[in-house]
C-alpha cells in the first residue's frame, strides 16, 4: 500500500525521497519531511494507540508537542545498538529510514486489546479510584487484583530494558537575549534584539523555523512569508552573535534566568548516520533577558465520544493537509465555536480535502473568515452541536443536533452525517507554560477565553510576544515582538540598532461563543463520554464527581482526577476543564483559577540530564603520584573520599583477609611502607599562626619548638571531634598542618572562613599544599635502616627523635622526614616533591628489600593503628563524640583560652557519665572477630541467659549498650581486637558485654582499654 492518503500535490515534503518505516510490525512508506504522524496519516492510519485507563482506541489529535493521544514506543538507533524509547509523541518524531514504532498500551494487539474491557467497567473506575480502593480492608484485593491486573493494565509504553549506548552531553551557554520560539513573533524579536551587539540565542523545537507560517503562509513586507523567513534567517545566520538552535526546546526555567534547552541532535537521522554522534544535548543557558514567543495551543471541543480516532484539532488538520500533503479521509466535518477556524477549513478545502459540513456552536455563523468560506458551498450548521460520534476504531459519522436558544439542551434528535474525520476548533490558549515556570502569574481574559501572561516575575522577568501573549494578529504581533526585542537588548545594555519592524496585514476575525460544555445525545453525567484530558482519561463527570466529593480547589481537583498530570501537562485540556467546571459550578473561570505548570515543558529523556557523567566520569577519581606502582603491583583499591587508595596488595589467589594478615606482621617485626600522600596538608603562616592553631585545636601550640611535631584534635562548635592530625613547626612563623584524607578540603574551608569572618585581626595566611608533597610512611623496627641506606644525613634517635622533623638529602631528592607514627612503631614519614614521589617509592622498595620491606594498604593501616587504639575520625567518631568520649580528655587544654567547641564541652549532656565512650573489647574466644557495627548489650539487659544461644533478637526488645566501631584479627597480638563505643564504658572496664548476632549466636566480650600492643609505648621512641 503506497500512501493512499496522500494528496496529489502540495506540502513541504520531498516526494522524490521515499522513507521506509515499520509500525506495529507492518512496513510502510512516507516521504522525507514527514513526521511519524503525517506518514501514518498518509497511509490512512488514524488509530495508533489506546488510552491510559480505559484502553479506548485513540488517534492522532495534534500536530505538535501538545499531543495527548498519539504516543508510541520507538526503537531509537543512535548508539551502538537500537533500544526502546517509551512514550514519544508521533507528531514531533521526524520520519527517518528504518524507523520502527509500536503502539502503547495494547495487548496482544492494537485492534484486539484485552485491557479495553476496562471501558465496559468504566463506572467502576471513577475519579479517585486508586485513593478509594487502595484504602479498602481486603488485602487479598492487593495481591490478586490490583497489582497483577489493574496496575498491569494501567500506564502507557514499556520502558527500555537495554542499556542506552547513545551519547548525551551538556553544553553551557550565555547570552544577552534568549528567544523561545521561532515563529513570526520570535523571528521579529530576534531581528530587533540582534541588530546591535547583543548575543542572541533563538530556540525552536521544529526542524525548520517559521512556526504558524509554515502551515498558514502570509504576506510579510510585501513578499510571501517563506521568502521573508529565508531572508531573516540569512541575516541572523551571518551574525556571529546569533545562535539558532533547531530541534531544541526550552524545557525548564530556573532562578535568575537559568534555562535548560533540550536539543535533539540526531533523532531525525537514520541509525547509520547517527552512530557515534551525540544524540541529545542539554544546554544550560544563562540569559540576561528572555523573550517568550511560543505561540498558542488550539483546544478540542467537549462532546460525547470526542476521543474517537479521526478526531483532531482543526489547526492540526490544516497542518497535515497543507504542510504534509496528507488526505485526512474521504469526507471531513469541521466543528467550531469561532470564526477563525473557517480559515483553516477553507485552506484544506482549497488543498483538495473534501469537507461535508461545518458544525458551528455559534448562534449565527458570521465573521470575515466564515463569509470567505461560504464560497466553498460546504453546508454550515449554525447553533448546532455534535451530539454523538459513530464509529469505534475510526470516526464513521457525527450526529448533528440543533441547540436550544440558551444553549443548554438539544431541540431535535439530530441527523447522522457520515464522515471519517472531525476537525475541532475550540479556540486558542496562549502557551503560558514557561511564563508560569518563571514564577509569574497568569490572568484570565474573558474575551480570549484563556489565560494570558500576568505581571512578570521579579527574579526571572519574562517578556511574552505573539500568540503566547494572546496576540493572534500577524500585523500587530510582528511590530510588538520587534519592539520587545529592542527593549530586551536595551535591558541587557546591548541596544539594537534596527528601527523598521516587519509589516503584515493580519487576518481579521469575527465572533466566537465560549459554550464550554454543550449538551449531547447522552449528557456528561448520564453515560456520556466527554473526554477532557485524553492522556489521563479524565472525563467531565470525573471533574464533577471531584466537586461533589469536596475536592473543590482546582489543585485538589487536579490531584483527585489526575487532570493535567500526564506527560502533556494538560496543554490541550487545562482551559476546557476550567471552562466546564465554571459551567458546572456557576463560578467564573477566573475565580476557579489554574494550576501551576512545572518543568520540564516537554517530556525529556532522562539521559539528557545525566550527560557524560556516567561510568568513569560519574565522579572524579583522584590518584597519588605513586598510583601506577600500586596498579602494577596488583593492588586492590579503596575509595576514600574521591581518592583511590591502595587497600591491600593480594598475591595470586590471596584473599583480602590473608593479604592483610601478611601485610600487618612486618610492620612490627621488620618494616612496612604505605603511600600516605592523600593526607591533607595546609601551610599555616604568619606571626599569629600559633594563636590561630590554639583556637582551631583543643591543645596548646605556641610553645611547640621549631622542628617538633604535635598531634591535634579539631572540634566543631558543638564540641564534637571533626578532624585530627599532626602539625609541625617549620619555622618561627610557619606550621605544616596535616588533616585526614577525607577532611582536607573541609578543614581548609572552615579555617579560611574563621580567618575571614571571625578572627580577621589574626595575621595568618593559609595555603593548601596537599598535592605538593608525596608521602611514604615507613613503619617498623627496620625503618631507620632502610632510610639510612638512602641518606648520609643523621636520622638517629638523637638527631631525629620521636615527634620531630628535619630536612635531609635522600639520594639527591630533598626530603622532609617527620618522625610521627600511626602504628605506634618506629616510623618515618618521608615527604618529597610530588614529581619525585614515584622515584622515592622505587628507591625505598629497592633499598628496603634486604630488610623485608613490605608495602601495605589502608586495611592493614587500620588494623595496625587499632592495635594501638588510635582513632580514625569517621570510624570511631560519627559527629557525636567529644574528646572525653574518646578517652582523649588530656588533649583538651584548660589553660590556653578559647578554642572552637570549648564552651560546648561543659554542657550537661556532654559531661554526663553515661555517654557512649570508646573502649577496647577482648572477645572471650580470642579467635572470634566481632563484626564491625555489631550492637552490644550489657549482661543485666540480656534476656533469659539460660536460653542462650537460642535467643532470637527480633522477638525481644533489649536496651542497647553501644556498638563495635573497629574490629580485626591481630596477627601481632594473636587475638581478635575491637574498639567499641559503650555507654559509660570507661567505668565498666572488666565487665562483660554481649553481642547477639543475626544467626542467633551471641558473641561475648570483656571491656578493656584500647591499647592492645606495646602498652608502655616504647617502640615508637626507638
Amino acid at each position: 500500500m503506497v500512501q493512499a492518503f496522500r494528496l496529489p500535490d502540495g506540502g513541504k515534503i520531498d516526494r522524490s525521497t521515499p522513507i521506509n518505516f515499520t509500525f506495529n510490525g507492518e512496513k510502510y512508506q512516507g516521504y522525507a519531511g514527514d513526521t511519524l504522524a503525517s506518514a501514518l496519516l498518509a497511509n490512512g492510519i488514524h488509530f495508533v494507540g489506546r488510552g491510559f485507563k480505559y484502553h479506548r482506541p485513540r488517534g492522532i489529535t495534534t500536530s505538535g508537542h501538545e499531543e495527548p493521544n498519539a504516543i508510541v514506543d520507538l526503537n531509537v538507533a543512535s548508539g551502538e545498538e537500537a533500544y526502546r524509547e517509551a512514550n514519544v509523541r508521533a507528531p514531533v518524531i521526524e520520519l527517518c529510514e528504518g524507523m520502527t514504532a509500536e503502539s502503547v498500551n495494547a495487548f496482544p494487539s492494537l485492534k484486539y486489546d484485552i485491557g479495553s474491557l476496562n471501558q465496559w467497567l468504566a463506572r467502576f473506575f471513577p475519579a479517585g479510584f486508586y485513593y478509594k480502593t487502595f484504602m479498602g480492608p481486603m488485602a487479598v484485593f492487593w495481591t490478586k487484583l490490583y497489582e497483577p491486573v489493574i496496575r498491569k493494565a494501567a500506564g502507557l509504553g514499556r520502558s527500555a530494558t537495554e542499556t542506552d549506548t547513545a551519547r548525551y552531553e551538556f553544553q553551557y551557554g550565555h547570552c544577552d537575549v534568549l528567544i523561545a520560539g521561532g515563529g513570526p513573533a520570535g523571528l521579529s524579536a530576534a531581528l530587533a534584539a540582534a541588530s546591535g551587539d547583543a548575543r542572541v540565542i533563538l530556540v525552536d523545537d521544529g526542524r525548520e523555523l517559521g512556526g504558524s507560517l509554515l502551515s498558514d503562509p502570509a504576506i510579510i513586507n510585501g513578499t510571501d512569508s517563506g521568502s521573508w523567513i529565508a531572508e531573516v534567517l540569512g541575516k541572523l545566520e551571518k551574525n556571529p552573535n546569533v545562535r539558532i538552535m533547531k530541534r531544541s526546546s526550552v524545557v525548564s526555567w530556573w532562578d535568575h534566568n537559568f534555562l535548560n534547552v533540550w536539543e535533539r541532535c540526531t533523532d531525525h537521522l537514520p541509525a547509520a548516520a547517527a552512530k557515534n554522534q551525540t544524540r541529545q544535548k542539554l544546554h544550560r543557558i544563562r540569559a540576561n533577558q528572555v523573550i517568550l514567543a511560543q505561540g498558542a495551543f488550539e483546544r478540542p471541543l467537549l462532546f460525547n465520544n470526542n476521543d474517537r480516532p479521526g478526531t483532531m484539532l482543526a489547526n492540526a488538520a490544516r497542518t497535515y493537509v497543507t504542510r504534509y500533503g496528507v488526505r485526512l479521509g474521504k469526507a471531513g466535518i469541521f466543528y467550531t465555536n469561532n470564526d477563525t477556524a473557517y480559515a483553516d477549513a477553507l485552506a484544506i478545502v482549497e488543498a483538495g480535502q473534501k469537507l461535508v459540513a461545518v458544525i458551528d456552536l455559534r448562534e449565527v455563523a458570521e465573521g470575515p473568515n466564515t463569509e470567505a468560506f461560504k464560497a466553498t458551498g460546504v453546508p454550515i450548521y449554525a447553533n448546532s452541536v455534535i451530539a454523538d460520534v459513530d464509529g469505534k476504531q475510526r470516526v464513521r459519522g457525527a450526529l448533528i443536533s440543533a441547540l436550544s436558544s440558551d444553549g443548554a439542551s438539544l431541540i431535535d434528535h439530530g441527523q447522522l452525517i457520515e464522515c471519517d474525520f472531525i476537525a475541532m476548533a475550540g479556540g486558542w490558549s496562549p502557551n503560558v507554560q514557561l511564563h508560569s515556570q518563571s514564577t509569574a502569574k497568569v490572568k484570565w481574559d474573558d474575551v480570549l477565553g484563556a489565560f494570558v501572561p500576568g505581571k512578570a516575575s521579579t527574579v526571572n522577568p519574562s517578556i511574552s510576544v505573539g500568540a503566547c501573549n494572546g496576540d493572534y494578529h500577524l500585523g500587530t504581533l510582528l511590530e510588538d515582538a520587534f519592539s520587545k526585542g529592542l527593549v530586551a537588548a536595551k535591558s541587557a545594555n546591548k541596544p539594537g540598532r534596527a528601527r523598521k519592524s516587519p509589516k503584515a496585514d493580519g487576518r481579521e476575525t469575527g465572533p466566537h461563543r465560549w459554550l464550554w460544555l454543550p449538551p449531547g445525545k447522552k449528557t456528561y453525567n448520564k453515560g456520556g463520554k466527554f473526554f477532557v484530558d485524553y492522556q489521563n482519561d479524565v472525563k467531565i463527570d470525573d471533574l464533577e464527581l471531584a466537586q461533589r466529593e469536596s475536592f473543590v480547589s482546582v489543585e485538589h481537583t487536579k490531584r483527585y482526577t489526575t487532570l493535567g498530570m500526564a506527560t502533556d501537562q494538560g496543554k490541550t485540556s487545562n482551559i476546557n476543564a476550567l471552562g466546564a467546571l465554571s459551567q458546572i459550578t456557576g463560578k467564573e473561570v477566573a475565580e476557579i483559577g489554574t494550576t501551576t505548570f512545572r518543568p520540564p515543558y516537554v517530556p525529556t529523556t532522562f539521559m539528557a540530564y545525566v550527560g557524560r557523567e556516567v561510568d568513569e566520569f560519574f565522579d572524579v577519581t583522584r590518584t597519588t603520584p605513586m598510583h601506577s606502582w600500586h596498579v602494577d603491583a596488583g593492588a586492590a583499591f579503596e575509595p576514600v573520599g574521591q581518592w583511590d587508595r591502595a587497600w591491600y596488595y593480594p598475591k595470586a589467589g590471596e584473599s583480602m583477609q590473608a593479604a592483610v594478615q601478611r601485610e600487618a606482621k612486618p610492620d612490627r617485626s621488620q618494616v612496612g611502607v604505605i603511600d600516605a600522600s592523600t593526607l591533607g596538608k595546609i601551610s599555616v603562616v604568619g606571626p599569629d599562626a600559633g594563636e590561630f592553631l590554639n583556637r582551631i585545636y583543643t591543645n596548646a601550640w605556641k610553645k611547640l619548638p621549631v622542628g617538633k611535631c604535635r598531634y591535634g584534635l579539631m572540634l566543631n562548635e558543638a564540641g564534637m571531634v571533626v578532624d585530627d592530625g599532626v602539625t609541625s613547626r617549620i619555622s618561627e612563623n610557619e606550621y605544616h598542618m596535616t588533616t585526614t584524607t577525607g577532611g582536607a578540603a573541609g578543614v581548609m574551608g572552615t579555617m579560611e572562613e574563621y580567618l575571614q569572618t571571625e578572627w580577621p585581626e589574626l595575621q595568618v595566611y593559609l595555603t593548601s599544599v596537599t598535592e605538593q608533597w608525596a608521602v611514604a610512611a615507613l613503619n617498623g623496627p627496620n625503618s631507620r635502616t632502610v632510610l639510612e641506606a638512602l641518606t648520609d644525613d643523621d636520622v638517629s634517635a638523637e638527631a631525629l627523635p620521636f615527634m620531630a622533623w628535619r630536612e635531609i638529602n635522600l639520594s639527591g631528592i630533598p626530603a622532609r622526614i617527620f618522625r610521627i607514627s600511626f602504628t605506634g612503631d618506629l616510623a618515618f614519614e618521608v615527604n618529597v616533591s610530588a614529581d619525585y614521589g614515584l622515584q622515592l617509592w622505587n628507591l625505598l622498595m629497592t633499598a628496603g628489600q634486604p630488610y623485608g620491606l613490605t608495602p601495605y594498604g589502608t586495611e592493614t593501616m587500620h588494623l595496625l593503628r587499632a592495635e594501638k587504639g588510635f582513632i580514625i575520625v569517621g570510624q570511631e567518631t560519627d559527629g557525636s563524640m567529644t574528646p572525653m568520649d574518646l578517652g582523649l580528655g588530656g588533649m583538651v587544654s584548660t589553660k590556653k583560652g578559647d578554642f572552637i567547641g570549648r564552651r560546648s564541652l561543659s554542657r550537661p549532656d556532654i559531661i554526663k557519665d553515661d555517654r557512649k565512650q570508646l573502649v577496647g573489647l577482648d572477645t572471650t574466644n580470642p579467635e572470634t572477630v566481632l563484626p564491625e557495627g555489631a550492637q552490644l548489650v550489657f549482661g543485666e539487659d540480656m534476656p533469659d541467659q539460660d536460653k542462650l544461644p537460642a535467643y532470637r533478637p527480633a522477638k525481644e526488645v533489649v536496651r542497647m549498650a553501644g556498638f563495635v566501631s573497629s574490629s580485626y584479627y591481630s596477627p601481632n597480638c594473636n587475638q581478635s581486637i575491637a574498639m567499641a563505643l559503650v555507654k559509660g564504658g570507661h567505668n565498666r572496664i572488666g565487665e562483660k558485654v554481649f553481642s547477639p548476632q543475626a544467626d542467633g549466636t551471641v558473641i561475648e566480650a570483656v571491656i578493656r582499654d584500647t591499647n592492645f600492643y606495646d602498652k608502655e609505648g616504647v617502640r615508637q621512641h626507638g
Binding site: Y172, G173, T767, E771, S833, A834
Partner: protein
C-alpha cells in the same frame, strides 16, 4: 646519588589517542614543568614586588601580568599564582622575601601541586563550553584573563592566552580526570593529543 626523574602528573596519559595534525580542530597537551609559587599578601603591597617580578601584582580581579620570565595570575583579593619556566621556585621565593622583608605574607612553592594543560584550536571554545559554566566568550573572558572555576566536577584555574588558546591549571590528582574529560568533549571534533603514541 641518583638522577632525579620528574614524573609529571599526566605522563603516560597520551597513549591511545590521535596525534595533532595540521587539520586538528583541537590540540591538547600537558605543559612541561614550571616553577609555581602561591603568594598571599595584602594587596596594598602590590607595588613592592615590582623589583622581584618586573611588574606590580595585578589587583584587578581575574587579570594576569607577564614579564619575560614571570607570569602572575590573580586568584583572589590577597592571593596570586606566580609562574616561571625559567627561574627556580626557591629563587622566586627568595626574591619575594627580599621585597616583602618585615611584612606579613606567605609564599609557598606549589610547582608539584598542579598539572598544566594547554588546549588550543578553532574548536577550543566548543570543548570548554561543554565542561565549564564560565562564560568563555571573548567579550567576558578575553585574552589575558584568568579565573578559578569549575570544569565538569573539578576545580581548575583557567587562563586565556589568545582567542583559541587556554591553559588549565589543575590540582595534580584531578589532572587525569580533567584530561580525559577534555579529550572526551573533543570527540565530535578532530582532536589531537600531544605526545600521543
Amino acid at each position: 646519588m641518583v638522577k632525579l626523574i620528574r614524573n609529571r602528573p599526566l605522563s603516560g596519559e597520551s597513549v591511545g589517542y590521535d596525534s595533532p595534525s595540521n587539520d586538528s580542530d583541537v590540540i591538547i597537551r600537558e605543559l612541561p614543568f614550571a616553577s609555581m609559587v602561591n603568594l598571599r599578601v595584602n594587596p596594598k603591597n602590590s607595588s613592592k614586588l615590582k623589583d622581584a617580578l618586573g611588574f606590580n601584582l595585578p589587583t584587578k580581579a581575574n587579570t594576569t601580568e607577564t614579564s619575560a620570565e614571570i607570569k602572575c595570575l590573580w586568584l583572589g583579593p590577597n592571593e596570586w599564582l606566580i609562574i616561571s619556566d625559567q627561574m627556580e621556585a626557591s629563587d622566586l621565593c627568595q626574591d619575594i622575601s627580599h621585597s616583602l622583608e618585615g611584612l606579613h605574607y606567605s609564599a609557598k612553592e606549589v610547582s608539584d601541586n598542579y598539572a598544566s594543560i594547554s588546549i588550543t584550536g578553532q574548536k577550543t571554545l566548543d570543548v570548554l563550553s561543554k565542561l565549564t559554566p564560565l562564560d568563555v566568550h571573548e567579550s567576558s573572558f578575553g585574552t589575558g584573563t584568568c579565573a578559578q572555576t569549575v570544569l565538569a566536577k573539578s576545580n581548575v584555574i583557567l587562563e586565556r592566552l589568545d582567542a583559541n588558546t587556554f591553559t588549565l591549571i589543575v590540582r595534580r590528582s584531578f589532572a587525569s580526570y580533567v584530561w580525559k574529560r577534555l579529550i572526551d568533549a573533543g570527540v565530535e571534533f578532530k582532536t589531537g593529543v600531544h605526545g600521543a603514541a
